[in-house]
């Protein structure tokens, strides 16, 4: 009799797991790059150590990265970026906390590519702004991957661009996000 109780209990607990989910997906090697284009020069930097997690059941998304992980082709530029612009010693991390607005349209158990809208709070340089972007989520056997591109104005995050280099740095930076998540 008791054995049967345990079996029922286990079955229910399994059902509970299946119901909510679609669990969480994690990456610790996501890529985020930014690109600044002006007539004078193009500047690109890439961070390949971005951590992110998606909760498939709720559509919640969190992203965190270290500013010093942005790699520039010119190391001196990297030093200036960290010391003079984003002040990485004071503000070592950038975070995003938000949700997929149309999460119910994403079927995490069926292969395919889904268009999503993401909104949430982006914090860089100690300043938070509400942002939203469109992107895609691709579900495949290997896991899920997410991609998005959006524009960002560094001045909105209190990052001052001095006049002398104003013409070298674009007013809006193009941010490209590419993450390959694994289920946890």
């Amino acid at each position: 009799m008791r054995k049967r109780n345990i079996v029922v209990g286990l079955l229910l607990s399994l059902a509970a797991m299946v119901m909510n989910g679609q669990g969480k997906y994690l990456t610790e090697s996501g890529q985020i790059s930014f690109f600044s284009h002006t007539l004078i020069e193009d500047i690109r930097a890439e961070n390949q150590e971005v951590s992110s997690v998606i909760d498939a059941s709720t559509g919640e998304v969190a992203v965190i990265l270290k500013m010093t992980d942005f790699q520039f082709p010119k190391k001196l530029m990297q030093e200036h970026f960290n010391e003079n612009y984003v002040e990485s010693e004071k503000f070592p991390k950038a975070t995003f906390s938000g949700r997929i607005r149309n999460n119910d349209q994403v079927d995490y158990s069926t292969e395919g590519t889904y268009k999503v809208q993401v909104e949430g709070e982006l914090t860089i340089h100690g300043i938070s702004n509400e942002v939203e972007a469109e992107g895609t989520i691709e579900v495949s056997v290997k896991g899920i991957s997410a991609r998005t591109k959006f524009m960002l104005n560094p001045e909105e995050f209190g990052i001052k661009i001095p006049k002398v280099v104003r013409r070298n740095i674009a007013e809006k930076l193009e941010i490209t996000v590419e993450m390959n998540y694994q289920a946890i």
Partner: protein
């Protein structure tokens, strides 16, 4: 019995829910996974020189630094010499980062028409976080070849008599975003000196600091205390080199505007031949310009 059954069922099904929801928000989950990392301190000084002497900083791998330095004549020479600006000593050098931790340089200076070369290694880097290192430690070794014609060509002259060597340990700490300090125990050896009274070896202890005034401007000071037997006993009296300056950084350039009692810009010159005295107004205006080129991506 019924109650017990219900209890077991609820307990087990509950554990299933707990497994997934765990009640932890996503951001703190990521924070926890990231753990504590360690950060290397950057920009203890803005250039590879504090003013005359080397700082712990190196050029990064693949970076070429082209440096142009000038020291003018003495301010106390007055208006006729345009306060020293009518004369100039120069030092030109090309310096390259082989790796982030090792750089080499070659230069040519007006003082004794010297060609110089150096190698600079990083031994320790200041870091904070998981790995805490309070200091940065760099070692530099330089060789200086006097290029003047022999004062007495009839005597037997040896090439080795042209050589001088300097070794320095650079110990620095960036105390805050605004303040960095470096101590520089130094040893200079000259194979050949002017007279018997002049020492072949000079030991010195240097101290240099940087105070950041704005994001791109800092004030630097540098002093070397020379351990000399008796200054008056030398054929030419030499003084402890003291330099004050301002660093201005713009993109790939660093400008340093300097006031110093030394006309030489390399270790053999400022440790061994600083003949100016601040109190007498033997002050030279000077500048260093550093221009970085990224050769390797």
């Amino acid at each position: 019995m019924k109650i017990l059954r219900l209890f077991i069922i609820l307990f087990l099904s509950g554990s299933g829910i707990n497994l997934n929801l765990a009640g932890q928000d996503l951001e703190s989950l990521l924070e926890d996974r990231m753990g504590e990392s360690s950060e290397f301190t950057s920009a203890t000084f803005k250039a590879t020189r504090i003013l005359n002497g080397h700082s712990i900083e190196r050029t990064h791998e693949g970076q070429l630094d082209f440096r142009i330095s000038h020291r003018f004549g003495r301010i106390n020479e007055g208006a006729y010499e345009f306060f020293g600006l009518d004369q100039a000593h120069i030092h030109l050098s090309l310096e390259y980062g082989l790796k982030d931790w090792i750089m080499v340089g070659i230069g040519r200076g007006t003082f004794e028409k010297t060609v110089d070369g150096f190698t600079k290694f990083s031994l320790l880097r200041q870091s904070s976080g998981a790995r805490n290192m309070p200091l940065s430690l760099t070692f530099i070794s330089g060789v200086y070849v006097n290029g003047l014609r022999w004062s007495d060509p009839d005597r037997e002259n040896y090439f080795k008599h042209r050589l001088g060597f300097a070794n320095q340990l650079l110990i620095a700490r960036k105390f805050s975003q605004r303040f960095s300090l470096q101590l520089t125990p130094s040893y200079l050896h000259r194979n050949f000196v002017k007279t018997e009274e002049d020492p072949n070896d000079i030991f010195a202890l240097g101290a240099g600091s940087r105070i950041k005034l704005t994001k791109r401007i800092s004030m630097n000071a540098e002093y070397f205390y020379l351990f000399l037997p008796e200054a008056e006993a030398l054929s030419t009296r030499i003084f402890h080199p003291l330099s004050l300056g301002i660093d201005i950084e713009t993109g790939g350039h660093v400008f340093q505007i300097i006031l110093t009692n030394s006309v030489g810009m390399t270790e053999n010159a400022f440790l061994g031949h600083t003949t100016g005295r601040w109190l007498d107004g033997d002050i030279h205006i000077g500048f260093n310009i550093s221009r970085m080129f990224q050769l390797k991506k």
